[in-house]
């Protein structure tokens, strides 16, 4: 397997506080890769760096062999790197269907065509609906996203993200705030969609991590503490001490 995403010496400093310190991360093509670590370890910050929402203080980011360190957020998205947010991010005034559709339209290249009818968007309806079904939101297709409960907003966000058919999917705590049944469903969904693409996710639900992920990187205080598959990592005493606690061993 080749490496799809690679960081070299990635570092982020906030006014003297180093949140991410010289991280060398390598995500293999086709893998489901988890980033775990105690709170404040720098996981979200790494995501923000990868999606260009933050500028690295030092280090380089390579995507598919290409240096993307200085690209704009929208360009990296168009390269096929798409993220979901830790705090739910939807378009509250648009319906669930429209939320997904706008992503499908983005995938199709977006449009500055102010002279065309918006009927042209309806060609995305079928695909959008099937995505909503995948996350069990079909019955809410015409509900405005702002009115959905928190958990459903998260589900909608995932559907929207999937609409972009990203090559590399960055999921920041996709399960947070979800009920058990949803967790199972989303996990299955992630597994399904991970076929043929690469997933990098931050997740605290170790059950999910154990179940889904091929490779795990453990961050602590901005540095990589351990790396490997679940079995290896979960036995690492440093990881147990810093993160998992005794309950999970």
């Amino acid at each position: 397997m080749s490496i799809l995403l690679e960081t070299k010496g990635l570092t982020k400093e906030f006014r003297g506080f180093v949140a991410v310190r010289s991280v060398d991360l390598a995500v293999e093509r086709g893998a489901i890769h988890a980033l775990i670590g105690p709170n404040g370890a720098g996981k979200t910050t790494v995501f923000n760096l990868l999606t260009k929402f933050l500028k690295p203080t030092a280090g380089r980011i390579l995507y598919d062999g290409r240096d993307v360190t200085s690209l704009a957020p929208a360009s990296i998205a168009r390269l096929g790197v798409v993220r979901s947010f830790q705090i739910s991010a939807t378009f509250p005034q648009l319906t669930a269907l429209e939320n997904v559709r706008i992503a499908l339209a983005a995938k199709a290249g977006g449009s500055f065509a102010f002279w065309r009818s918006d009927k042209t968007l309806e060609r995305h309806n079928a695909r959008a609906l099937s995505l909503l079904e995948d996350v069990n939101l079909a019955e809410f297709a015409d509900t405005r996203a702002g009115e959905l409960s928190y958990g459903r907003k998260r589900a909608l966000e995932i559907a929207t993200t999937l609409a972009l058919e990203p090559d590399l999917l960055l999921l920041d705590e996709p399960m947070a705030g979800m009920a058990h049944e949803e967790i199972g469903r989303i996990a299955a969904l992630i597994k399904r969609i991970a076929v043929g693409r690469t997933v990098l996710m931050v997740e605290h639900n170790l059950g999910v991590v154990a179940d889904l992920c091929d490779k795990i990187t453990v961050l602590r205080s901005g540095e990589i503490l351990a790396e490997g598959d679940y079995a290896t990592v979960s036995k690492d005493p440093r990881v147990i001490e810093a993160y998992m606690g005794t309950g999970h061993a």
């Binding site: 830790q86 947070a176 058990h180």
Partner: protein, 235 residues
């Protein structure tokens, strides 16, 4: 243990604009109890807490806190009855430093924790005391949100998904804190998705569905009723 409920909820209704979300919630919480509200996404757990605190303004029915009717009161007055609220998405203020966040809520009852006691409980907060509140990581923010209400002297705490987004070690840590709070005589209403976590210290589970209480299960009966509970939660 006194039998007079600290929190008595009767026939509580609540609306967001036109949409009717709570349809007659009823439950009691007695002093020193930890009660967990559980239920599926969108069942109305958060809304229940928000209706108790008065954040959701359109509401009807009866909410008695220590015997005082609170349904007609403004949220700041309700807080003064001795209520501490930790909201769903933590509600840390970005324009305040960590320490300012911590010191923000005014005391509502005497004998709240001191700053030193708080730092003892959450050493991480002391390290980051001067940084901007929202620059903390998710977990740190959760600690801050809990720490914040401990200072006020409130004895009745409403915690909305305190384990959400937290690393297992931290979850265990928070669990221990909640248990110790109970042991110190705090009364706690907990909203949780993480059933396992809730089970560590809840005395009783209140199951919410479609804005109503559909069942109440004491911790002691847990094992017997786990099947039913699982059904409610769709686990």
């Amino acid at each position: 243990m006194s039998t007079e409920p600290v929190l008595q909820i009767r026939d509580l209704e609540a609306w967001y604009g036109e949409s009717h979300v709570l349809h007659g919630m009823e439950f009691d919480v007695r002093a020193g109890e930890v009660v967990a509200l559980i239920g599926r996404n969108g069942a109305g757990k958060t809304t229940t807490l928000r209706a108790i605190t008065g954040i959701v303004k359109k509401r009807a029915g009866s909410v008695k806190i220590d015997g005082t009717e609170a349904i007609k009161l403004r949220s700041d007055k309700i807080a003064k009855l001795g209520l501490g609220y930790v909201p769903e998405e933590r509600g840390i203020f970005a324009t305040l430093s960590v320490r300012e966040n911590l010191l923000l809520p005014p005391a509502v009852k005497p004998n709240g924790m001191t700053e030193a006691q708080i730092y003892e409980l959450f050493p991480r907060l002391q390290e980051r005391a001067r940084s901007q509140g929202t620059k903390l990581s998710g977990g740190e923010q959760q600690m801050l949100a809990i720490a914040r209400v401990l200072r006020t002297g409130a004895r009745l705490l409403l915690l909305d998904e305190p384990s959400e987004g937290l690393a297992p070690v931290i979850v265990q840590h928070i669990g221990r804190i909640i248990c110790s709070l109970r042991d110190q005589g705090f009364t706690i209403v907990l909203v949780e998705q993480n059933f396992r976590f809730a089970a560590t210290c809840a005395d009783r589970f209140v199951v919410v569905e479609h804005g109503k209480v559909v069942d109440q299960v004491a911790s002691a009966d847990m094992d017997a009723k786990s099947g039913e509970l699982a059904a409610y939660l769709g686990v």
